[in-house]
Symmetry: C2
Amino acid sequence: MQQSAQLYDVINRRRDTRREFTGEPVDDGVLHRILSAAHCAPSVGMSQPWDFVMVRDATTLETFRDHVTDERAAYARTLDGERAATFERIKVEGIVESGLGIVVGYDPTRGGPNVLGRHAIADAGLYSVVCAIQNLWLAATAEGLGVGWVSFYREEFLRDLVGFPEHVRPVAWLCVGAVSGLPEVPDLERFGWRHRSPLDGVLHDERYQAGSNLAT
Amino acid sequence: MQQSAQLYDVINRRRDTRREFTGEPVDDGVLHRILSAAHCAPSVGMSQPWDFVMVRDATTLETFRDHVTDERAAYARTLDGERAATFERIKVEGIVESGLGIVVGYDPTRGGPNVLGRHAIADAGLYSVVCAIQNLWLAATAEGLGVGWVSFYREEFLRDLVGFPEHVRPVAWLCVGAVSGLPEVPDLERFGWRHRSPLDGVLHDERYQAGSNLAT
């Protein structure tokens, strides 16, 4: 798709996609570009602690979709009244429809025994993996693809499904694929779950001020 | 600075900056654009669980720099021989030189009691905050600014320094400022700490294959 690849345009256009996948396969060259963008992310001590598993096998996609459906139901049972009714309208995944899942893992053994910058903050390696995911997401958006980050799953289930060893932590299942378009308004806002808050509510000068935060 | 703001160029140009800060103040309009880019990041259940504290006070910058210097020394003591000598050459922060620290916090209470998508993965909120950081970093790069993510600190120290309440977790101190330029090669590679690995080593088809990983 011919669309602006200017950074701010891409950042504003990016959406979490569930409904819009067409199932058309992703071109290998495009896929390589978005994975290269991910691999260019910053990483603590240059450990590059990420792994990417491309899942297209129909049985694996369906197995994961079924697991996510169960977890969706588990969450739905925690909701009452209006929240339950609103959630009912929201689609939380496009696993089978997208035709491609990119499973992202975090391998804390990457980068040797003394990763520079991780001695005080153990999670710094995990942060690196998420930077890679955000690069991938923006690159996919620039390429006209949709990305949906699925978070209704148990980590152990996904670890077993793609064969991660015990020390590799699953961080994301990303549905990636061609889309009919990206919604202008995020689904959670469109369907009345929650509205975006203004920037001013999260900015603080010199020190945190509880008053400058919006009511949650 | 007039440079390409095309997404892939920005992703490739982005560097972790420590040595290149000029100390020139960041324009308010530019700062607002990069914070807006951060605030456009995806977030689990649209919780937007981030906070940004702008620190410019000289005493606060120096206090944090001194703490980081101590933590750097603590890490250095864990290294032997060539690693210790190589690390000696590497600068790990530009806190005072940049003139602006953006402290990023994670507030898990944002978004109400039942954050959609967080019931199975508690860390999903933390992931959202890192997506915001990566957006900020890319936007700053597009604006010609440098960003250095400092990770040589204790979270409790930073929490106290900027007055985060107990439930807000410090996720990053970002040195942000005007730079003389961005290095083409990352510092850790330039100074012989570690080399970037090729993408192929972290890609897997359908299932994780230990063999496709590079030696750490």
